[in-house]
């Protein structure tokens, strides 16, 4: 069995495998597939709770992933933010001495979540400029009606 604690390197190797098969588009196609089939929990929470659904979704996943983060929900303003001070996934990949992370590993978060949230009426903005230090930030904002 591959443990869920071993998933991150399996994920990174999957991206490398797909890119070697068919180029970067093959990786993007997979991210779209995964977003459509696997992120129904995020989709359902936001459908039922609006912007608070983001808070509910990430307060479970980021705690289970043992991330270093601050999250902020402002329902009046319709915004939700995450400041990731140490991403557990990228951080782990960088710690392994015998593994080279997929060159655009952090790109998957942007594609997966944006694809769920934008069609639901939210702006999704991310800053990946420090992802080589396992840091990033995300702002999700309800679009004006």
């Amino acid at each position: 069995m591959i443990s869920c604690t071993e998933f991150i390197p399996a994920y990174s190797e999957l991206f490398k495998f797909l890119e070697a098969k068919d180029g970067p588009k093959a990786v993007l196609d997979f991210w779209n597939y995964l977003s459509d089939r696997f992120l129904n929990n995020l989709r359902d929470l936001v459908t039922a709770n609006g912007i608070r659904g983001c808070w509910l979704y990430w307060s479970r996943t980021l705690n289970e992933e043992a991330a270093d983060f601050t999250m902020e929900l402002d329902e009046e303003a319709g915004t939700f933010r995450i400041v990731m001070t140490h991403c557990p996934s990228k951080g782990r990949l960088m710690e392994y001495k015998h593994i080279t992370p997929y060159h655009d590993y952090c790109g998957h978060c942007d594609v997966l979540y944006r694809r769920v949230l934008e069609p639901m009426g939210y702006e999704y903005t991310t800053d990946l400029s420090k992802c080589d230090q396992a840091k990033c930030s995300v702002v999700i904002k309800r679009k004006e009606q």
Binding site: C4, P9, E64, L73
Partner: protein, 154 residues
């Protein structure tokens, strides 16, 4: 409504996100659909050959106890029910409760048709180039219960 904030350090939580089993299952199914069954095995060989390289070295150096310790650790972390029978020449792993399949079934996440390759192919790759071999003795598709035997080649 007031703002809500939450700040956490990595040390505040135990690293155990079982939904990752679902992402892996989807990844395997995607490769199967798009590139076929052998591509799934190729991917798992690539992953296992890379990620488990230190474990494989340990297997060569210390023998089957290295695999026993590895699997004991991950099944304990995930709360799986497993029995190990170890001798100098053989390690039998009997998994009564497979935490990956159990989680997928509980969350109604489809289990990839070739999910068992995460055991079979990964085991074979762990043994490739070592004095050991492996066979998957049994695998139950519904529950993920399985029995696997690693042994020293004659």
């Amino acid at each position: 409504m007031p703002k809500q904030t939450m700040t956490r350090k990595a040390s505040d939580n135990v690293y155990l996100h079982k939904d990752f089993h679902g992402a892996l299952s989807n990844g395997i199914e995607y490769i199967h659909e798009k590139y076929g069954a052998e591509a799934v095995r190729d991917y798992l060989r690539q992953f296992a050959g890379t990620y488990y390289a230190p474990l494989k070295e340990d297997l060569i150096r210390r023998g089957l106890i290295a695999l026993k310790e590895h699997y004991d650790k991950i099944f304990k972390a995930e709360g799986g029910k497993v029995r190990f029978t170890l001798s100098d020449c053989e390690l039998q792993i009997e998994v009564e409760t497979n935490p990956a399949v159990q989680h997928l079934r509980a969350q109604k996440i489809p289990v990839a048709r070739l999910f068992s390759e995460t055991i079979r192919t990964v085991g074979e790759e762990l043994c490739a180039g070592t004095p050991f071999a492996v066979e998957l003795l049994a695998y139950d598709e519904a529950s993920g219960r399985y029995a696997q035997r690693f042994y020293r080649k004659a």
